[in-house]
């Protein structure tokens, strides 16, 4: 079975849950920016949750299926159509042979995920099918999809589709502040600077991508003005470069960096970072590390409970 790209949208890449164990060789983890939506899409069509999916950014792709397929679209809300008819998100649906799936613009959030029963046929490299754009490898030829690309889908033998309980994902994308823990160089910043980060709204800049989200707002001045020796950076770290405007380091981040980190988005909220749009406002609130881990545990429990049977 094969799928032809009629229109790739703004940036559509193959992503699974990411590439781990290679950051000492300069490899960022990559993977779906909103891993929660991506996992749900896979589970809806009966795939393993790490199966390769398509991540579509701001504008969805238009795809032609040569054979009948079962797909699910999740994540940011988009105007999805199959052969011109409106199709629902967050549930498994059938695309007929020769059918055209058009995902349209992403209206709320930034990214939508398309899982196809069986999973995209992408060769895992270093344990993952995710596209590493900086390294030009993984996914589909190490790049975003282009018009005319043709990719295969694995046979999903006896995969059983699932359905979500009513209203299961209604509160998934809350507008509440992103929760953060203290960063590795938190003590370089005074109470005042950390207070600013927690009390002022920040706007996501247009110069944001999967490597990092640049924020614009009140400047954050460090108390200590020394040069940080380049060190490893954690996913979701909020670093403050010399222009004193914070950057959230994200899935395609460089593995090391030389700017102090004031805070770090908690693991349970990283999927929400993946849905932040340019010009959107964001606020932060502090939680303690044990609470952050408890929130992640609850999120994993929640994911098991949202499916019917």
């Amino acid at each position: 079975m094969a799928i032809r790209v009629q229109d790739p949208g703004l940036l559509t890449t193959v992503q699974d849950l990411g590439r781990y164990g290679y950051s000492h060789l300069g490899m960022s983890p990559g993977g779906a920016a909103d891993s929660l939506a991506m996992r749900i899409a896979n589970l809806l069509v009966g795939n393993a949750e790490n199966a390769a999916t398509l991540e579509m950014t701001l504008t969805g792709a238009r795809l032609e299926f040569d054979e009948e397929s079962v797909v699910a679209l999740t994540g940011g809300e988009c105007d999805c159509r199959i052969n011109g008819d409106t199709a629902p998100m967050w549930q498994a649906m059938r695309v007929p042979a020769r059918g055209i799936l058009a995902c349209g613009g992403v209206k709320t959030g930034a990214r939508s995920y398309l899982a196809i029963q069986g999973g995209l046929d992408a060769q895992p490299i270093m344990g993952s099918a995710s596209t590493n754009i900086a390294g030009h490898f993984g996914g589909f030829e190490g790049r975003g999809l282009r018009k005319g690309d043709l990719f295969g889908v694995r046979k999903g033998a006896n995969s059983r589709v699932s359905t979500l309980k009513p209203k299961a994902v209604d509160r998934l994308y809350s507008r509440e502040p992103l929760r953060v823990t203290r960063g590795a160089q938190h003590d370089w910043f005074g109470v005042e600077a950390f207070g600013k980060l927690l009390s002022c709204p920040y706007t996501v800049s247009e110069q944001s991508n999967r490597s990092g989200l640049r924020l614009r707002g009140e400047s954050i001045s460090p108390r200590v003005r020394s040069q940080l020796l380049t060190e490893g950076v954690s996913l979701g770290a909020i670093q403050v470069p010399r222009d004193e405007q914070p950057i959230i380091l994200f899935v395609d981040q460089q593995t090391t960096g030389g700017y102090p980190k004031i805070a770090n988005v908690i693991s349970a909220d990283l999927y929400r970072v993946g849905q932040l749009r340019p010009r959107e406002q964001v606020r932060f609130i502090e939680v303690a590390i044990p609470d952050a881990i408890q929130l992640l545990r609850e999120q994993e429990e929640w994911l098991k409970e949202i499916f019917r049977c």
Binding site: F137, D187, E231, G232, S267
Partner: protein, 245 residues
Amino acid sequence: MFGLRRSNGSRLYLRLAQVWVSMKVVSASDSSLLIVLGDVTSLDNHERVMSLFRALHRLNDPRIRNLHPAYASVLIDFDPLRLSHEEAASLVENLAGEKSSQHDLAANIVTIPVCYDIEFGPDLQEVANHAKIPMREVIRLHSSATYRVHFLGFTPGFAYLGGLPETLHVPRLATPRKHVPAGSVAIAGSQAGIYPVDSPGGWRLIGRTPVRIFDPDATQPTRLNPGDLVEFSEIDRATFDATDR
């Protein structure tokens, strides 16, 4: 136990690279610990980093997702639902009991052929001007030193090399190039490097290697690895052109 209860900023004493060192354990996030072994770039700190990094790598613990060695620290990223910060700190502490073997400290020596043709080294003249030496001397100095891979970062396979002769310390470009070809051999500040993939870059380009520095499909995807020793050997343009890439 050395005060591991408070994981943020607690200090441990570890035996690394045959010496006892003080280290700081910082909770960098809800899924990572930053082990700080020093605050300067030095051979001692590098050896401590490599000793800890190799010991952690060898554990092959499925709860550990990623290790990020750097100049004087190692960031350990783990699955916080399977490994707590305290347990991760204990793992590090336990490694301290193990004696560093010769194997740990032995470095792999990698020789990289470089063609210093002006086409590949558009910044050679400026580096020579800055250092107030002839271009030929830039090449001689660059290809006669032995470098050490401190760590990899920036892009997949990009090795930060220490050991650049002081005469060649030049500031990076004021405006980075949008496109630097893979294999470009470059210097900036006190560092040397090779661009493994086509990428933007602000370092001064002085040559190019025909050797593939990054091959994602290979069992060992990067030509240079943390802790390696690196030497550059000059090749002429004909040899470069004849090398099968």
